[in-house]
């Protein structure tokens, strides 16, 4: 059983990665022009060059900070509005057109409009916020609405206070699905922030360096920055997964 789990959980993803890198290697060798498609080795070498460069860490830190700040603001506001929506049916109905519009708005329209209205330093925050807010709002609202009705009835019958309900029923019941939503939204936020930085040409950002690499057709460098963005997304998803595991143990998930 343990062996089977090892095969599925560790070996299978390694095989997947190996096949991907092999195909990349073959295609790159067949093309033979690193300006079009650099080999995995060239990309890795550019990535290590980046790691030795101070500007990489500054850009990474700033992009991460932008992502986390816009994500945190969106999460706090989404949780607040979702809470109000669970308490007031009127508010929920009144708020739904706004979230629907925000959800269906083409991301590119949001980016282009925000670029007109805001400075290049602020634009990535606003764009990330506008796109992920409705996603987080829906995640939290669905989680709150999926708290079992029968447990709420029990709390009502025994006159359990709102504070105790929040701590002992809502938070433990909602945490797993909210964290799943958070992990998806967080890595999506990295992508959005980087895309916004590219288009806004935000100073000292991963996006700006990617745009530069693209302009100078430094394809290995562009892929190296891309690799850094992927690793950042993985890191954030991994952290959320870790928090989820710790909370699952704490709340005795069953």
């Amino acid at each position: 059983m343990e062996k089977k789990r090892l095969v599925y959980n560790i070996l299978a993803p390694i095989v997947g990665c190996a096949v991907f890198i092999a195909v990349w290697f073959i295609v790159a060798a067949a093309i033979g022009k690193s300006i079009i498609l650099p080999s995995p080795a060239e990309t890795l070498s550019s990535f290590f060059d980046l790691l030795r460069d101070g500007k990489f860490y500054l850009a990474l830190g700033k992009t991460l900070a932008r992502t986390l700040v816009s994500f945190s603001i969106a999460f706090v506001l989404a949780a607040f509005f979702a809470f109000v929506s669970t308490v007031s049916e009127f508010f929920k109905k009144a708020f739904s057109p706004i979230t629907v519009i925000m959800r269906v708005l083409p991301t590119i329209s949001i980016i282009l409009l925000v670029l007109i209205w805001f400075k290049s330093a602020t634009a990535p925050f606003v764009i990330t916020f506008i796109v992920i807010f409705p996603m987080l709002y829906t995640t939290v609202l669905n989680a709150a609405e999926n708290v079992p009705q029968e447990l709420l009835e029990m709390c009502r019958a025994y006159r359990v206070s709102r504070g105790k309900r929040l701590l002992n029923l809502y938070i433990p019941q909602m945490t797993p699905s909210v964290l799943t939503g958070v992990s998806i939204t967080l890595s999506f936020s990295v992508k959005l922030t980087v895309a916004a930085e590219v288009l806004a040409s935000t100073q000292k950002s991963m996006g700006r360096y990617m745009a530069q690499a693209s302009a100078y057709v430094e394809t290995p460098m562009l892929l190296a920055w891309t690799l850094a963005a992927i690793l950042l997304g993985f890191l954030l998803e991994g952290l959320v997964l870790l928090v989820k595991m710790i909370l699952a143990r704490r709340y005795h998930a069953n």
């Binding site: 006159r159 002992n168 005795h252």
Partner: protein, 237 residues
Amino acid sequence: MQTENKTFDIKNISVEFGTNCVFRDFSLALPKGKITCVLGPSGAGKTTLLKVLGGILPAKDFSAPKCSFVFQDHRLLPHLTALDNLALVLDGKKAERRERARKMLADMELAEAENLFPSELSGGMAQRVAIARGLLFDADLLLMDEPFKGLDLALQERLIKYFIKYWEENRRTTVFVTHSILEAILVADRIIVIDGGADGAKVLYEKDFDLPREKRALGQPEVDALRKELHDLLVTL
């Protein structure tokens, strides 16, 4: 309003779901310190009655008394231990609440369940913890909605004896809804039968049953007679 303090009076309950009238000015006098069993066909309004009494379902001009509620399923919070599930329904400082809950579990021979989560308890044990919660909560009424349904017969019988044993200690005024005639006969001091109608549910039958509970068993003439009487009435509904 109480009649000579011998009954707990429920007055003028009215509940409508859309155009469907479940109760219209429904009143009931529950003998204090006794168990009233409510029988009736499905859809008669038995569970709705309990939900109204328990404040889960609002009814026009009716202010729900403070009630304990033992549901068909245990409804223990999955993230809390048995001890914390009991402490949850109490007021006061955490340490004091947990101490009272601990004592209750010990009194009800559930000390070994104290630190177990609902998923670690057997169905019967989880329901015993739910009964302990109902008896611990300081309320005017104890409401029980088919609390032994879905359990195997042997377990059902054990749980009924168990419930009666602890109920006898402070004889809370109880409304016990069931589909099982035999369960009602084993538990009740008074049995009522209700049935729904266009004008809302009505009490069709009401009878006190004074035979000591330890004597109640199939084959006992009074039990068999009452069983037949109730059966003959319920099959017509």
